[in-house]
């Protein structure tokens, strides 16, 4: 018998592993690429709308994000992870959150801050507690406030619609929905952003839980505290203006920095809506989406803790 066994052991053995033995085709890279594609309408619209320098800003942000990740992986002696395309998404989101005439070297600094400080130093993909693009945006606002709030370019001069609204002026809703207003490169066109968001929803990459609750609670907040009563124009301007759409669909839904529990996602969405409302209505600046999301990011561990789902057979079978 032993000779027999040995003979059998000598032949080629098959691969074994614990179940399951099949896998879905979706991987991290395909998700990231889908997000990049979904951001294309807003990116292309922004570049056409604001001109060549906007393209340079976006390209610099993407390029330096990828480069920073590559260099960091080498320095930290980790396997190079740029092929998962997450750095492209970060760079693109950062670029879309910058004014069209933003200096390129500052863009590069912002991209490096996003990747090196917010992402890689905390352990790389999946470990950052804050959205890297938004973290970098806030860093840039603090460091280069003058440039970050200057939305003048060849196409537009003057204040953003939200700033106009804040000082009591009138805005053109139609232009805002299309995106023909001053603002950051990617935030102005509601149509382009929603188009991209529909693509992600159709693919099942994001769902409406967070954006839906975010927008809904924000609308309710400004209806109550906006001091304009039920002013349809005012509500629409707040929805189409500023970074709300881009933030709600593309940054509040960032997997890494939003709660993983279903109930937690509702709570998170409502929280973001209220925070954005507070910042926009009562705050000194006209915009508040980035700060709302960043603050929300920090509260995610707490939200997850209080929204632990119940297991099947312990009350959780119906949700």
């Amino acid at each position: 018998m032993s000779e027999n066994t040995e003979k059998k052991e000598a032949k080629k053995l098959l691969k074994v592993s614990s179940n399951p033995h099949v896998r879905d085709g979706m991987n991290t890279r395909s998700i990231m690429l889908a997000v990049v594609i979904a951001l294309m309408p807003a990116t292309i619209f922004g570049i056409i709308n604001f001109g060549y320098h906007a393209f340079l800003v976006v390209a610099t942000a993407v390029g330096f994000s990828v480069l920073a990740e590559f260099v960091m992986c080498k320095i930290l002696k980790k396997p190079v992870s740029i092929s998962d395309c997450s750095a492209i998404v970060t760079g693109l989101l950062l670029g879309l959150n910058l004014p069209p005439m933003f200096p390129l070297w500052m863009t590069a600094v912002g991209a490096c801050f996003a990747i090196v400080v917010v992402k890689m130093l905390f352990g790389g993909l999946g470990q950052n507690f804050m959205n890297p693009a938004l973290g970098a945006r806030c860093f840039l606002v603090i460091s280069f406030a003058k440039y970050m709030t200057n939305f003048n370019c060849d196409a537009y001069t003057g204040a953003t619609p939200l700033a106009v609204l804040k000082s009591g002026g009138a805005v053109n809703i139609y232009d805002m929905v299309i995106g023909r207003t001053a603002g950051t490169i990617g935030e102005t066109s509601m149509i382009a952003i929603v188009l991209g968001a529909c693509f992600l929803i159709a693919l099942g990459i994001i769902d409406l839980r967070i954006p839906g609750m975010y927008i809904l609670s924000f609308v309710i907040f400004i209806l109550i505290f906006g001091k304009r009563g039920f002013d349809f124009n005012f509500v629409c301007a707040h929805l189409a203006g500023g970074g709300l759409m881009l933030g709600a669909f593309f940054m509040a839904t960032d997997y890494v920095t939003r709660p993983i529990t279903k109930k937690g996602q509702y709570v998170y969405g409502i929280l973001l809506g209220i925070l954005t409302g507070i910042f926009r209505i009562f705050g000194a600046s006209a915009e508040g989406v980035s700060y709302a999301i960043i603050l929300g990011n920090l509260l995610v561990p707490l939200i997850e803790k209080i929204t632990l789902p119940k297991a099947f057979g312990k009350g959780g079978e119906n949700s």
Binding site: R23, I31, G126, K310
Partner: protein
């Protein structure tokens, strides 16, 4: 729609074997009968090397209530009693019988009119026939049908979901011998005064639903329930929930919800055990996968070597990289074909590509897909983290013990993490510790 929350829709691969009728296979080589083919105490061998045995002769007897006897499925001579490899890769004491290919059988005592038998007689026939849960778990059926309070059983559910991809053995039984299934269910129902029968079939088998409905249309006690096609619809706890809206957690038994669940092949074996008086000698095995020349459904004598089944199905047309005993979601990967089919072998799946070893694990991006699909409604990504860090306390706090190890999280994970695998290891450790603690 009758279903549960969560679940996945993997490629089902059933088309390649579903239209192949069940073929009786007569093995030629040696037969191997591991002494433990069920959950519970291993059997005790009652034959000696050199002894002649017949088809249907007891070769290993049960050693307690939660145990199940084993019968020879061929006639021949006992060649050896020695450790042999089984599908899990372990070596287990087994009886090896040299097949004389004559199939001389002992005489069976049929009971065509089971209504004359008492409850105890029926249970004893099931017990003596060695019937166990043939869906994969191998829990002795006579234990299942003997709950503490039989009058509290309200539903006897026939698990006809067959939610595992590639498997078509239950489907073929429902197409070819639906009356056996329905009669078997009626026998089970006769054990319980207050029970109704449910045939729960996934709606991707409309032909089965129609046939079973036709057969049971005059029977008020039996209903056919179409289930949403989704894995793991056939998981016992989720099947009970889908059909009765009663949810049980991992520490409860189906009988706590007034239910008893049996799989198709098991119910047919109950029929054979009672009406034909035959012990469990055969089972239906689907031999399939992209490496098999002619995928087929075989009626296989228990103990048959897997090599023979592959050869009978025309052999390999491609080199297999992975061979799974059972379905791709819950089955065991085997590293060598030289193992016997047992009471719980539902399929032999030969895949030319191993999707597990071809992708490496990457960082969790917290996408929440595992949470969406988890039928246990837990957070697999966090549980796997706790398991990998050895954090037992958090693992149990986050309901890690409610995991049913169905594999949905690992299937869906875009980062290709070994979620089910990690959670499973931790659960095994905790269960083993609890068992030790219980004995002290």
């Amino acid at each position: 729609m009758f279903t549960f929350h969560g679940g996945i829709h993997p490629y089902d691969g059933k088309d390649i074997s579903k239209d192949r009728p069940i073929v009786d296979y007569s093995p030629k080589g040696d037969m191997v009968y591991p002494l433990s083919q069920h959950i519970g105490a291993p059997c005790e061998c009652v034959v000696e090397v050199g002894e002649k045995v017949l088809v249907g002769q007891l070769i290993a007897k049960d050693t307690g209530f939660v145990s199940s006897p084993i019968y020879s499925s061929v006639s021949g001579v006992v060649k050896a009693i020695e450790p042999r490899r089984i599908i899990t890769g372990d070596h287990v004491k087994a009886i090896v019988i040299e097949n004389d290919n004559e199939y001389k059988s002992v005489k069976f005592t049929p009971h065509p009119d089971y209504s004359k038998l008492s409850r105890e007689e029926i249970v004893s026939l099931i017990q003596k026939a060695g019937v166990v849960g043939m869906g994969g778990a191998g829990f002795p059926t006579h234990v299942k049908v003997s709950p503490k309070e039989p009058d509290k059983i309200e539903y006897v559910i026939a698990n006809c979901a067959e939610c595992e991809p590639y498997l078509t053995s239950d489907y073929r039984i429902m197409i070819e011998q639906p009356q056996k299934l329905v009669e078997g269910l009626r026998i089970e129902l006769s054990l319980f005064n207050n029970a109704r029968g449910i045939l729960a079939v996934e709606d991707n088998k409309p032909d089965c639903i129609a046939k079973l409905r036709e057969l049971t249309k005059d029977d008020e006690k039996i209903s056919v329930i179409p289930l949403k096609t989704k894995y793991p619809q056939g998981s016992e706890r989720h099947l009970i929930f889908a059909t009765t809206k009663r949810a049980i957690n991992s520490s409860m038994l189906p009988s706590d919800a007034g239910c008893i669940v049996n799989n198709v092949d098991t119910i047919c074996s109950i029929y054979s055990a009672v009406v034909e008086g035959k012990p469990l000698l055969h089972r239906i095995v689907t031999v399939t996968g992209d490496c098999i020349k002619t995928p087929q459904n075989f009626r296989v004598p228990i103990g048959t070597n897997y090599h023979e089944l592959v050869d009978e199905a025309g052999g390999f047309i491609k080199n297999p990289e992975k061979i799974v005993s059972g379905g791709p979601m819950m089955g065991f990967a085997i590293f060598d074909l030289d193992v016997p089919a047992t009471k719980t072998s539902s399929a032999l799946l030969c895949l030319s590509k191993d999707q597990i070893s071809s992708a490496s694990e990457t960082a969790c991006i917290n996408c929440g897909r595992c949470v969406e699909v988890c039928p246990g409604r837990v957070i697999p990504s966090k549980l796997a983290d706790f398991a990998q860090n050895g954090d037992r306390e958090q693992f149990e706090k986050y309901n890690g013990m409610e995991c049913c190890e169905c594999g949905c999280c690992s299937y869906i994970c875009p980062a290709k993490r070994y979620l089910t695998q990690s959670i499973k290891s931790m659960r095994r450790m905790i269960l083993a510790d609890r068992k030790k603690g219980g004995k002290k």
